[in-house]
């Protein structure tokens, strides 16, 4: 779902970078604290956890595959800022060490996948939780996936408005190509995973890593 390099012009990637980088630094300091010995292990391990969850490849009908995102689970277990910092670092690792995604689009991807999606999911969870935690967890992950995908589609649409020659793809094709798999397959799988993982973690009374207080 995340954008590769070359789909967006510097008109969009540079402002996104300028917003995402200080926001990520602020969130990291606020959520993980200034002490290196306390903060770095937790931040590093949670990032690795998010990264590893995303390496779980799920076969889907049609011979292709998708992968889990897992960032909503972090937002529900901790908070959206923690999820944002971890997902931003995951995107950096993917782009810099593994060549997945892109370097110039890091800011856009971090804001769409790391901040907007988990934030929407977290809000939905808080809103629906009184009706039942399992339903809320499933819907939160599904909504998070759709919000992130819609944001990516929106940015591409904005790029087409800014310069049709730069991004000549039909918006209908782009929206269908990204939103349909997200609505029908990836969102449901992510919802199912988040529901299962959260239930098991609650049952085992295992919240995960305690984060140091700032």
């Amino acid at each position: 779902m995340h954008l590769p390099d070359g789909f967006l012009s510097p008109q969009l990637t540079l402002p996104a970078f300028a917003v995402a980088a200080p926001l990520c630094a602020w969130a990291a300091r606020r959520r993980f604290g200034p002490s290196g010995a306390e903060a770095l292990p937790v931040l590093g391990t949670l990032t690795a956890l998010a990264f590893v969850i995303q390496t779980i490849v799920i076969p889907v009908p049609g011979g292709t595959s998708t992968h889990l995102v897992g960032v909503t689970l972090l937002a529900l277990l901790y908070d959206p800022l923690t999820a944002f910092v971890c997902e931003a670092l995951v995107l950096v690792l993917q782009a810099v060490f593994f060549g997945a995604g892109g370097v110039t689009v890091l800011g856009v991807n971090a804001l769409a996948l790391g901040l907007l999606g988990p934030l929407c999911g977290w809000l939905v969870f808080k809103l629906i939780r009184p009706l039942g935690e399992r339903v809320a967890a499933f819907l939160a992950a599904w909504v998070a996936m759709q919000a992130s995908t819609a944001a990516v589609v929106g940015v591409l649409w904005l790029q087409r408005l800014l310069d049709p020659a730069y991004f000549p793809m039909e918006p209908a094709v782009m929206a269908a190509g990204m939103l349909l798999p997200s609505l029908t397959v990836a969102g449901l799988l992510e919802g199912g995973y988040t529901l299962l993982a959260l239930s098991l973690l609650r049952k085992a009374n295992l919240r995960g890593l305690d984060r140091p207080t700032a």
């Binding site: 391990t45 799920i58 993917q94 892109g102 370097v103 110039t104 020659a165 890593l209």
Partner: protein, 204 residues
């Protein structure tokens, strides 16, 4: 979301820090970053073609490997979307296809991918970030933990496959992933405590 996922490649842990050649690597990394942003603004296929030729000339050593990675990651996404868009424009909308712009888009995405792979192949990132100890520590911890946690996920996937007669489907994998997440969290918590203790013992 293609089946060829570069994140499944083995993680190679970085070498020691503080070796000779680090300033040159930092310069190359910085130049690469500036070049990526600058080249991402190009829309003329002729300029993009020239830039491609220059990149191939500059990074000819290891070009085959970078091109192979490009074919597995960037090309399927970029070309697939371009062809779908062209098909829609011609067959459904009945309008002329902007082949020049689509060609430029594909040249740009592949050029940026090639440049990224080629620069990264020449830079030891741990050595490059050595002047920033916090970033270096964070990278070392995250990559080390990725290595440790991924062993567990791989073992879990192999276990799931060995327990089933047929190939695990989407529901089986999601159920397995949900189950292994608890163990991942427990292991992460233990590893984080161990790393924190080690850092404190070294006066960090």
């Amino acid at each position: 979301m293609a089946s060829t996922d570069p994140r499944r490649e083995p993680v190679s842990l970085p070498a020691r820090t503080g070796e000779a050649g680090a300033p040159a690597e930092r310069r190359l990394l910085l130049l690469g970053l500036v070049a990526l942003f600058a080249l991402s603004a190009l829309t003329d296929p002729r300029w993009l073609g020239l830039a491609w030729a220059a990149a191939l000339l500059l990074f000819r050593r290891g070009a085959a490997r970078s091109l192979a990675r490009l074919l597995g990651t960037v090309v399927p996404v970029s070309l697939g979307l371009s062809l779908a868009s062209a098909g829609f424009t011609a067959l459904v909308a009945g309008q002329p296809v902007a082949w020049r712009a689509l060609g430029a888009l594909n040249l740009r995405t592949t050029l940026l991918g090639f440049l990224t792979f080629s620069v990264l192949a020449r830079v030891n990132l741990m050595r490059a970030v050595a002047p920033w100890p916090t970033a270096a520590r964070l990278l070392a911890i995250a990559l080390g933990q990725v290595h440790a946690l991924r062993l567990l996920v791989t073992d879990s996937a192999l276990g799931l496959r060995s327990r089933m007669v047929r190939r695990p489907g989407a529901v089986d994998v999601v159920r397995g992933a949900g189950a292994v997440t608890g163990t991942l969290f427990a292991l992460s918590a233990r590893n984080a405590r161990d790393v924190a203790d080690a850092l404190r013992a070294r006066g960090a």
